[in-house]
Subunit: 333 residues, 2 copies
DNA sequence: TGTAAATTTGTAATCGATTACAAATTTACG
DNA sequence: CGTAAATTTGTAATCGATTACAAATTTACA
C-alpha cells in the first residue's frame, strides 16, 4: 500500500507538501494541490492513521465501559456516540461484567495511549494516587460516591427514589417492598437511602424484611416475586431499582396469581423503552438517557482538551429525572 | 511519561532487551529481567501502544457497525466481544443509522489501518472492485444477498419465516398480514419470500393488501395496528419481521379493543429478552444471538489471519433458528 | 582447558507520518 | 525595476517502539 513518500515522489513534491495537503490545504499552492490530488488518486493513497496517531501521540479514541445487559444503556451510549462523532472521536466499547479480571487492563489503556479518555458506568475502585490534583480523563456515568475520584454525570438517585416512594405513600401504601440492585454500584445505596427517607418522612417503620437483594436482572425480579407473594404481611407495593427487575417481578406476581396493581403496585427505575409496553405499563422514574450520555461525553472532551475548572469539575453533575405514572400502580384498597 | 529508552538506561541494558522483556521474556536472562522489572517499576513505565501498533502495523481493533436501536443486537455484540477479548482485539462500535453520511468513512478505517476488520449488520452497498478474488476483512452479519461481496454469518431468513407462517397456517389462519422491515435490509426481502412461500404451499392467495411496510421500530408496529384493525377482511394473524414491531402491534391492537391472540394472533422474529415478558408473551423465531456474534468474530479472525479457504469463505454460513411458541398465537375460531 | 554450539545482548535501521526551521519563490508596492 | 514582506516549499529531525543482524557471553562436553 502506497505511503506518503511515494505520493510525494509521483507528484514531484516533498513529503511535507503532501502532509500539509491534509493538515493545512490552504497552505499549498494550487499547482501543487493538483499534482498531489492526482498522485493520491493514481496510487489510491490513504494516510496511515496508525503512523499519524503515533506522531501526534493521539488516538482520537475513547473507551466506554458499560454493562450491556441493561437496555437503558443503549440510549446512553447513543448520546455518547453522537457527541463523539461530532468531536471526531471513535468509541471503544467493553462490558466490564463480561471479564472483571480485565478491568485494570482497560483502565491502563489511558497510560498506554490507546484511548484518550474513559467513560465508566461505575465509580472506580482504586482511587487516584493524588486525589483531587490530577484529573485522569475518566468520567463516571450513572454512579456516584462522596469524594468521587473523577468527574461525575448522573441523576440524584436519592431524590429520585424518594420521589417515587413518596408517590407510593401518597397512594396509601404502608408496606412497601424494596428490591435492590448490585451491591457494588453506589446508585443502589443511594436509591435505598431515598426509599428509607420517604418511609421515614411518612412515619413508616424501616424493616429489613421488606428489602430483597436483586442484581438488576429480570430473573432476580422473578425470584423476588415469589418471596414477596409469601411474605406476611404481604407488601402492597414494591419499589424495584430498575425496570428489568420490575418487569420480572410483575411476571412473577402474575404467576403467583396476584394482580398488578390491584393486589400489589410495582414501580421501576430507568424508563426503558419496554416499560411502556409491558402489562401493565410500568410506573417508573425516567432518566434522561441520551442527555446523560451526551453530557458525559462533552465533559470528557473538556477534560481531554484541558478545558475545565479544577474547582468545580469534581462536583457531581446531576441531571433531572421525571416520575412517570403508568398502570402498574394504584391506590391501596 | 517514561519511554523505553529511559527504562533501558536506568536498567543499564539496551532498548532491545527491554523490548524483548515484553515480547519474548524467555529470551532475557534472569539478571537482566530483574533489572528491567526494577526500572519499569521505578519509572512506572507503560509501553506506548500507539508506537507499538505503528511499528507492527497492527491496530488490534475491529469495527462493529450496528444499529443499536435493536436490543437483539446487544446479545450479538456480547458474542462478538467474547471472542474479541479472547483473541486480543478491542471493539469499536458505531451506529451507521445515526450518521449515514459517515458510512464510507467507517469502511475506510480498514485502509487507514485503524481497524483490522469490520463486522457489518448489512450487506455493503459498494461491491468489491475485484469481487471474489480479494477478501476485505469484512463479515456481514444477519444480512445476506446472493453473490454477497463478503463472508456472511446469518440465519436462513426464508426458511425461518416460512416455518413461522407454516405454523400460523397450521392453526387455521387464512388471512395472514405481514409487517415488513426496512427495505434496504435484504433480510426483509428474504422473510417476505418465506412468508409468500408458506402461503403458496397452503394454496392461499398472495395479496399486497395484507402487507404493510414497517421499519423495525415499535412505533411502526403501533401504526400498523390501526391499519390492520380497519382492514376488510381483517387478518386473523400478523407476521411481524421483528419482535419490537410485534410488541408495538400488540399494544396497538389492544388499544383498538381487539384481543391478542383471540381476535388476532401476532408473531415476531428475533426472540429478544422482552418477548417473554410482554402480554401476551410473544410467539417468535429465536435467532441464536450470541452464537451469531461469536461465529462472525471467529470468522473475521480467520480472515485477518489469512486462515480461510477462498473456495468456501463466500458461501453464507447459516445458523439454526427455533420456533418459540408462546401465548400470542392461537387457532383461528 | 579448549572449542563449538547455544544463548543472550546490543547496534542501528526501520515503520510513515508530522513539523520546526531554513530556503526558495511569489507578491506587493514605492 | 528593486526590495521587503508574504507565501510556499523542502530538508531533516523526531516520535517510541520492533527487529535483523552481528557481537558477546555462557554453556556443553570431549
Amino acid at each position: 500500500m502506497a505511503n506518503i513518500k511515494e505520493v510525494a515522489s509521483l507528484a514531484g513534491v516533498s513529503v511535507a507538501t503532501v502532509s500539509r495537503y491534509f493538515s493545512a490545504p490552504e497552505k499549498v499552492s494550487k499547482k501543487n494541490t493538483d499534482k498531489v490530488i492526482k498522485a493520491i488518486e493514481q496510487l489510491n493513497y490513504k494516510p496511515n492513521l496508525l503512523a499519524r496517531n503515533f506522531t501526534q501521540s493521539r488516538s482520537y479514541s475513547i473507551l466506554v465501559m458499560a454493562p450491556l445487559a441493561n437496555p437503558f444503556l443503549l440510549d446512553v451510549i447513543q448520546g455518547i456516540q453522537e457527541i463523539a462523532r461530532i468531536k471526531g472521536y471513535t468509541v471503544l466499547l467493553v462490558d466490564p461484567l463480561e471479564a472483571p479480571d480485565d478491568e485494570n487492563k482497560y483502565y491502563s489503556m489511558l497510560e498506554t495511549r490507546l484511548v484518550e479518555g474513559i467513560i465508566d458506568f461505575k465509580v472506580q475502585k482504586r482511587l487516584n494516587k493524588k486525589h483531587g490534583t490530577r484529573i485522569d480523563n475518566i468520567v463516571t456515568l450513572c454512579d456516584y460516591v462522596e469524594n468521587n475520584p473523577s468527574p461525575v454525570v448522573t441523576v440524584d438517585d436519592v431524590k429520585a427514589a424518594e420521589k417515587l416512594v413518596d408517590y407510593l405513600v401518597s397512594l396509601g401504601h404502608r408496606h412497601i417492598g424494596c428490591l435492590t440492585g448490585l451491591d457494588f454500584i453506589h446508585a443502589t445505596h443511594h436509591r435505598k437511602l431515598g426509599y428509607q427517607n420517604a418511609l421515614q418522612k411518612a412515619g413508616l417503620p424501616l424493616s429489613n424484611k421488606l428489602m430483597i437483594n436483586g442484581d438488576f436482572s429480570v430473573t432476580s425480579g422473578l425470584n423476588a416475586a415469589k418471596e414477596y407473594a409469601d411474605m406476611q404481611p404481604r407488601p402492597t407495593a414494591i419499589f424495584c431499582m430498575n425496570d428489568k427487575m420490575a418487569i420480572g417481578i410483575i411476571q412473577g406476581l402474575k404467576a403467583e396469581g396476584l394482580r398488578v396493581p390491584e393486589d400489589i403496585s410495582v414501580v421501576g427505575f430507568d424508563d426503558i423503552e419496554f416499560a411502556k409496553y409491558c402489562d401493565p405499563p410500568l410506573t417508573t422514574i425516567r432518566q434522561p438517557a441520551k442527555e446523560l450520555g451526551s453530557s458525559a461525553m462533552k465533559l470528557l472532551c473538556n477534560l481531554i482538551e484541558g478545558k475545565f475548572d479544577p474547582e468545580t469539575v469534581l462536583r457531581p453533575y446531576f441531571l433531572p429525572t421525571d416520575l412517570i405514572v403508568r398502570g402498574s400502580t394504584c391506590a391501596v384498597k
